[in-house]
């Protein structure tokens, strides 16, 4: 049989011959050409299109496919494209604060200040301010430091060069440890001859502890551990460490010690450092300046000119001194004018100001105009005086265009507009100035507009674009899963139905097992597992499709087996066996095509349920993940109570699309079933 025999064509050809035979060309009432014989396929098609619901479903499906697969080609936005917009928002525009922290600047980088001393400087300076001191000595581990007040808010730290002279006043010094066993004293410093014997005698008298006099000095001892005694010497009055000084020094020291101040004698300066009840007296030699600490910051007015460390340091030093200095190879003067420390260049022009009060842009990214800074400073001062925590002022801010850029007129002059600045003081003391500004933000949850027909979602994605791409994923998942189900189901069901016996038994038990597996819980567990492994969203998609397919084939296998069992007994199968067609051919060419109608119906209906499962999983956040859009994820992104109430325009269209697609698949499936076999039980 080379050619297939087409009944319709043959009948038509015969009728044409009959017409030819008749000369008048009229067709008789019973002429065969009046009867139109439809092929089985056309018959099914005709029955199908008579079903209005099925046609409606088909139209919907065609629309969905065009929308999801072809729509994105013509839609300019992508699924992962984030949209931005310019929005007027109240932002923290500037910050004004009275600087209270003292910052240190290096005068001489080689003169390093110990870290512990440097870190403690802020609190030292504050305690100096509280005590009203102008000079204080700080004993570090390696060096002694002097902190000198140059003027208000400016302090200089130098590495002091001190010569110890004497101690004055009553003091007790631990001089060593006496061992009762060895009867010797281990001295810490200078040895005192014969003291050990005196000590032995004293211990014999009073073992617990006590005091004795030896060589005009009073010693006291206290019992320590393991038959040892701590021996201390009590000194009173003046005790030289090195060379003794003359009487005039001693007189001056006596006078100074009462007040606890440093004094000058013979052109040398002596300082007193408290040590317990006594004073350590040092001669102060020239110190080496190391750092300058100040709470003043540099403000270069509108020029925004750079300020080098040298200029800053020298300006600070000069402000507490002569007022003239050289820095960066130039001459400068610094002087207080109307309460402000102004630094002027050699030409007498104002270069910068030293001020504890700073006003700057909040982010520090942009500059601020001097007049505005001044206005803010004045307002803040006014607020501090009035004790107000918040206030507002109207002023001119640079005008911003729609896209946030500054507006210039044709001459390139910056344009200004009236703006309201709100100043409020924080608990921490600084003043924050807020103003309305046009800024560039992600266009979140924008309502439907001509730019975004369905608006944007919480991530600034275009909802319509996401719906299109989401539809792609949902439909694709449906197809792949159903294909897998049918593929596995036909093979397993075909084998079981055709062979029967133990193959059938085995496969059907397998079918029972898979039928019994709770698929939704398993999918949820799989999703949670993939969450824990932080799997790539595309891999997740593949695994999800495979798992759904593997869990869904049992129903198809059962259907195919049932059909094949009944078909196997029919005459045409006997004929295939009689003509010696191979087993493979018998199953796949003769049995399976006869199961096709049921398979197509199952597949169509199955698509609907797979789409529901997929969207449910995605909705639960266990299916396809964020950047990739699916219908379920889109609803999930606005499923919280507040988002649900406010952004109904996002999730209602998506939900309706899911419903419509599933309904369409069901309608078409129903229609196909009716069309294939009008008498079939639904």
């Amino acid at each position: 049989m080379a050619d297939k025999y087409y009944l319709n064509a043959a009948l038509k050809a015969r009728a044409a011959k009959a017409v030819d035979r008749k000369t008048d060309g009229e067709i008789a009432l019973d002429d065969i050409s009046r009867v139109k014989v439809l092929s089985p396929g056309r018959q099914v098609f005709k029955r199908f299109i008579r079903n209005r619901l099925a046609v409606f479903g088909s139209m919907l499906l065609i629309f969905m496919f065009v929308f999801s697969f072809i729509g994105p080609l013509f839609y300019s936005y992508g699924q992962k494209q984030i949209f931005y917009k310019f929005d007027r928002q109240t932002v923290n525009y500037a910050m004004a604060k009275d600087n209270t922290a003292y910052n240190g600047y290096d005068i001489d980088p080689d003169a390093a200040v110990e870290r512990t001393v440097n870190n403690a400087m802020n609190s030292r300076i504050k305690s100096m301010i509280a005590d009203g001191d102008t000079l204080r000595f700080e004993m570090g581990k390696d060096n002694a430091y002097e902190i000198e007040k140059l003027r208000d808010d400016i302090y200089r730290v130098s590495i002091a060069d001190l010569t110890p002279i004497c101690t004055y006043g009553s003091s007790t010094v631990n001089i060593g440890t006496y061992s009762q066993v060895r009867k010797t004293i281990e001295f810490r410093g200078e040895e005192v001859e014969g003291l050990a014997d005196a000590m032995t005698a004293a211990v014999k008298k009073n073992a617990g502890g006590g005091s004795f006099t030896y060589g005009g000095v009073t010693y006291s001892y206290k019992k320590g551990q393991a038959k040892t005694y701590a021996v201390s010497a009590s000194f009173d009055g003046l005790r030289y460490i090195g060379e003794p000084m003359d009487e005039s020094f001693e007189a001056a020291l006596e006078a100074a010690a009462e007040k606890g101040e440093s004094f000058v004698c013979d052109g040398a300066e002596y300082i007193l450092v408290a040590n317990g009840a006594a004073w350590d007296v040092y001669r102060r030699n020239a110190a080496r300046p190391a750092r300058v600490f100040s709470r003043l910051t540099v403000d270069t007015f509108e020029s925004g000119a750079p300020v080098s460390n040298e200029l800053r340091v020298n300006a600070l030093l000069a402000a507490g001194g002569s007022g003239r200095f050289t820095a960066d190879g130039q001459q400068w003067t610094v002087a207080e004018e109307d309460g402000f420390l102004i630094v002027r260049g050699a030409d007498g022009a104002e270069y910068m100001e030293l001020t504890p009060f700073s006003v700057r842009r909040y982010t520090g990214e942009d500059s601020m105009e001097y007049s505005l800074k001044k206005a803010v400073a004045e307002k803040v001062e006014e607020m501090i005086e009035a004790g107000a925590k918040s206030g507002s002022m109207a002023c001119l801010l640079p005008m911003q265009g729609e896209s946030g850029e500054y507006v210039y007129d044709e001459n390139g002059v910056l344009q200004y507009q009236e703006a309201e600045l709100v100043i409020s003081q924080r608990e921490t003391g600084e003043f924050v100035i807020t103003a309305e500004q046009t800024i560039y933000v992600i266009d979140r949850f924008s309502a439907p507009s001509s730019r975004h027909i369905l608006g944007t979602d919480g991530d600034g994605f275009d909802v319509l674009a996401r719906i299109m791409y989401g539809g792609r994923v949902s439909l694709m998942v449906g197809f792949v899963v159903v294909f897998l189900e049918i593929f596995l189901g036909v093979i397993m069901g075909g084998l079981a139905g055709y062979y029967g016996g133990w193959v059938d038994m085995l496969i059907m038990r397998l079918v029972d097992i898979f039928y019994c597996l709770p698929s939704l819980p398993i999918m949820i567990i799989l999703g949670a597992m993939m969450d824990a492994l932080r799997m790539n969203t595309y891999v997740r998609l593949l695994i999800m499709m495979a798992a759904l397919g593997i869990m869904g084939w049992a129903g198809v296998a059962r259907l195919v087996r049932g059909q094949i069992l009944s078909l196997r007994e029919q005459e045409f199968m006997v004929a295939t066996e009689a003509t010696g067609i191979k087993v493979k051919g018998r199953i796949f060419h003769h049995l399976v095509p006869n199961v096709m109608p049921q398979l197509i119906v199952t597949a169509t209906m199955g698509m609907g349920s797979v789409i529901i499962t997929e969207s449910t999983l995605s909705f639960l956040g266990l299916g396809v993940k964020h950047p990739l859009a699916t219908w379920g994820t889109m609803i999930n992104s606005v499923s919280s109570a507040s988002a649900m109430a406010h952004y109904a325009y996002i999730w209602i269209p998506v939900g309706l699309l899911i419903c419509l697609t599933v309904i369409a698949f069901n309608f078409v499936g129903d229609g196909l079933r009716d069309a294939y076999d009008p008498k079939a039980k639904r």
């Binding site: 398993i522 949670a528 969207s615 499923s639 109430a645 939900g655």
Partner: protein, 329 residues
């Protein structure tokens, strides 16, 4: 009959054995180190009585994780058969205790929905079949199709949006109102009942479509049967034909399907309960699944597998009981 039942029961046990084996393999392959993480977490909880190493050894031994899959499965099985399901990790309660705490809420929710489903779907299906190709028929068909096609989560969200957000009739989720503690006993009952309204409506709408179609199809088949034609030919009043001859015969498939779905009333509505925060077994199991609470998941999956098998068995047995023409073998 008895022999058939016994045979089916044995088959069911065999199937259950393999189903649980598959599930156990899945659980066994939970992301690496999960048990370790869990042990660390349990050990660092306030008031933890065991150290990390003790917990780890305990957990591994309890679930046979220290052995191979097959051996581990038998360890689990031997525990499970004796009713030792262990302690839930997520709920820090014995699994059976958590089951008792939750299953009755699920049962009540499902039962109420089931009753309403029957009361609505069967009369509608019969009406549609009586007037085939009429407007009512098309209307019911479309409605049932819409109900079948509705994803649970969308319907639940929609109901919440309309009745909770827009109309404010019900709370968004939860089982108790704000002043639950101040109410009288009857008031408490009413309060909980009110919170069950939206979940039940969700379940009813989702499940109504299938039953409606099933009723209609079966009724249509019966109406085309010869004995109905005979009854009509005899001049039996149409009312009697429908209510007496046709309806009784339609009941055969309905009773078997509905009987088969009775065990399912205990299985809980996973998504509905989660969305409405009804503390039923579905909600509990969903929370357990997302937190990889292995003991509870194993228990829950075994439980619903048993329910499914039981449902199939009941349905088949009922078929033989209700329809004398069917002989079970």
């Amino acid at each position: 009959m008895l022999k058939y039942t016994l045979k089916r029961l044995l088959y069911s046990v065999l199937i259950l054995f393999f189903v649980m084996f598959i599930i156990y393999i899945l659980m066994y392959n939970m992301p690496m180190g999960y048990v370790e993480t869990k042990a660390r977490e349990l050990a660092s909880r306030p008031g933890a009585t065991k150290s990390y190493a003790e917990w780890l050894a305990d957990l591994n031994a309890q679930y046979g994780m220290d052995k191979g899959v097959v051996q581990g499965y038998f360890v689990w099985l031997s525990h499970a058969v004796r009713g030792e399901w262990g302690d839930s990790w997520a709920w820090t309660l014995p699994v059976t205790q958590e089951f008792h705490n939750t299953v009755w809420y699920s049962f009540i929710l499902s039962l109420v929905s089931f009753i309403f489903e029957i009361l609505i779907a069967i009369p509608l299906g019969i009406t549609a079949a009586k007037k085939q190709y009429s407007f009512t028929d098309y209307f019911t068909t479309v409605i049932s199709m819409v109900c079948i096609s509705m994803p649970t989560f969308f319907l639940a969200t929609l109901l919440k949006y309309v009745f909770s957000v827009k109309l404010g009739w019900f709370d968004l989720s939860g089982m108790q109102g704000r002043n639950y503690m101040n109410l009288s006993d009857f008031g408490k009952f009413l309060d909980v009942a009110k919170h069950f309204v939206l979940p039940s409506i969700t379940i009813i709408i989702i499940s109504i479509g299938g039953l409606m179609r099933y009723t209609r199809t079966n009724m249509l088949e019966v109406l085309n049967a010869d004995y109905i034609r005979t009854a009509r030919a005899k001049g039996v009043p149409e009312k009697k034909v429908i209510n007496y001859h046709a309806f009784r015969n339609t009941l055969i498939p309905l009773v078997t399907t509905l009987g088969g779905s009775l065990p399912g009333l205990f299985s809980g509505a996973l998504i509905t309960e989660s969305l409405f925060a009804i503390r039923g077994i579905g909600f509990a199991s969903y929370a357990s699944m997302t937190q990889a609470d292995i003991p509870f998941i194993m228990f829950y999956l075994a439980f619903i597998s048993i329910l499914t098998l039981l449902g199939n068995l009941i349905s088949d047995l009922l078929y033989g009981l209700v329809d004398p023409r069917v002989r079970l073998s």
